[in-house]
Amino acid sequence: MAVDRSMRVLAVDDYQTMLRIISNLLQQLGFRNIDTASSGDEALDKINSNQYGLIISDWNMEPMTGLQLLQNVRAKDETKAIPFIMVTAESKTENVVMARQAGVSNYIVKPFNAETLKQKISSVLGEF
């Protein structure tokens, strides 16, 4: 299956720098419909009012964390199937285990490179 680059992608991070980096990388991978949110609440609002094909989110945010966002997404029938990639500096085993239990599609540890992002997206959406 090939990646549908026309799908809408949501990037969530409370650091504007990281949002810009991820948005730029997604553009370079050919995605053209990229939205950003700088908090879990803002992300939920957007998720509830748009059809997303992929969510890429940071974990350590306030007040809603990336894990809580993931749990919210997985708790609703309309959104529970959206691929969700966590991009975070949290690299302890228990973090990854917890994220997997919550239903994360893949997990990227910061700092990361463009190839890693491409591979992880490919693993959940298909070949580029």
Partner: protein, 257 residues
């Protein structure tokens, strides 16, 4: 059978029947000596507490017991009471020193705490790196944009000639963008340091409450140089100033005009 040891406090109090502590002591001693003693542990503890308190109130610090000729008690040789009081003197000195050290952590009247100043400095680091990173990102985005414009404008034969270079330009821009991710990670590390400082500050405030330190002797000034720095101009070295502090380049130019 070993003879019961008589302590100096006991000797001193024995001749001072007018003191309430001495009376209580004698009463207690006589009860304790009797076969049908009904003295409770609490009574003994209360009397001992009062005697020690009374002894300490007569004691003048900072002179040590073994050098203080005005000391009200016998300080000769191997007297165990002397040892106890020496230890207590040392403890009291340590307590006074600790209190002074803790006071130095509390800002003086009208001063901001050093913790607040340090937190502000760390926030300045976060803000400055965020601004610098965004500037770098903007420029690398511009490089990608120009590279795209070149591809659109150049004829195909020329694109074939410089295609590899354009690709390398794009890759370099991507690497610059990714490297900018350091700002996110350093920001998170600084947040951890700030949270730890808040934790330490709260504990110190608790200590001040316990020690009833109303007014501190500390300053809001951050320590710019190491304590062992012996450079003659070290007092002039304060590092970068906060926004609005220090003078501008224009002001400096005016001073040279």
């Amino acid at each position: 059978m070993t003879k019961p040891r008589q302590f100096t406090i006991e000797i001193n109090n024995a001749g001072q029947d007018s003191l309430p502590e001495a009376t209580a002591f004698e009463k207690l001693k006589s009860k304790a000596d009797s076969a049908t003693s009904d003295v409770t542990i609490d009574e003994i503890a209360e009397v001992v507490k009062r005697i020690i308190r009374d002894e300490l109130s007569q004691w003048e610090l900072p002179a040590r017991a073994d050098t203080d000729s005005h000391h009200p008690i016998n300080v000769s040789g191997d007297d165990p009471a002397h040892d106890i009081l020496s230890e207590l003197a040392e403890i009291q000195t340590h307590i006074a020193t600790t209190r002074a050290e803790i006071s130095a952590l509390k800002p003086g009247n009208g001063e901001e705490s050093q913790f607040s100043s340090a937190k502000q400095e760390l926030q300045e680091i976060v803000d400055a790196t965020a601004k610098a990173t965004n500037d770098i990102l903007s420029e690398s985005e511009r490089i990608v944009e120009i590279s795209g414009m070149l591809v659109e404008r150049l004829p195909n034969d020329q694109i074939e000639v410089i295609g590899e270079e354009l690709m390398a330009l794009d890759n370099a821009s991507t690497q610059i963008m990714l490297a900018c991710g350091f700002q996110d990670l350093t920001g998170q590390r600084i947040t951890k340091v700030v949270n730890t400082m808040i934790f330490v500050e709260e504990r110190i405030n608790k200590l001040m409450e316990l020690w009833k330190i109303e007014e501190g002797t500390g300053s809001s000034e951050l320590v710019s140089v190491r304590p062992d720095d012996d450079r003659p101009d070290k007092d002039l070295l304060n590092g970068p100033q906060k926004e609005g502090e220090g003078i501008s380049q224009n002001d400096i130019d005016a001073m040279f005009a």
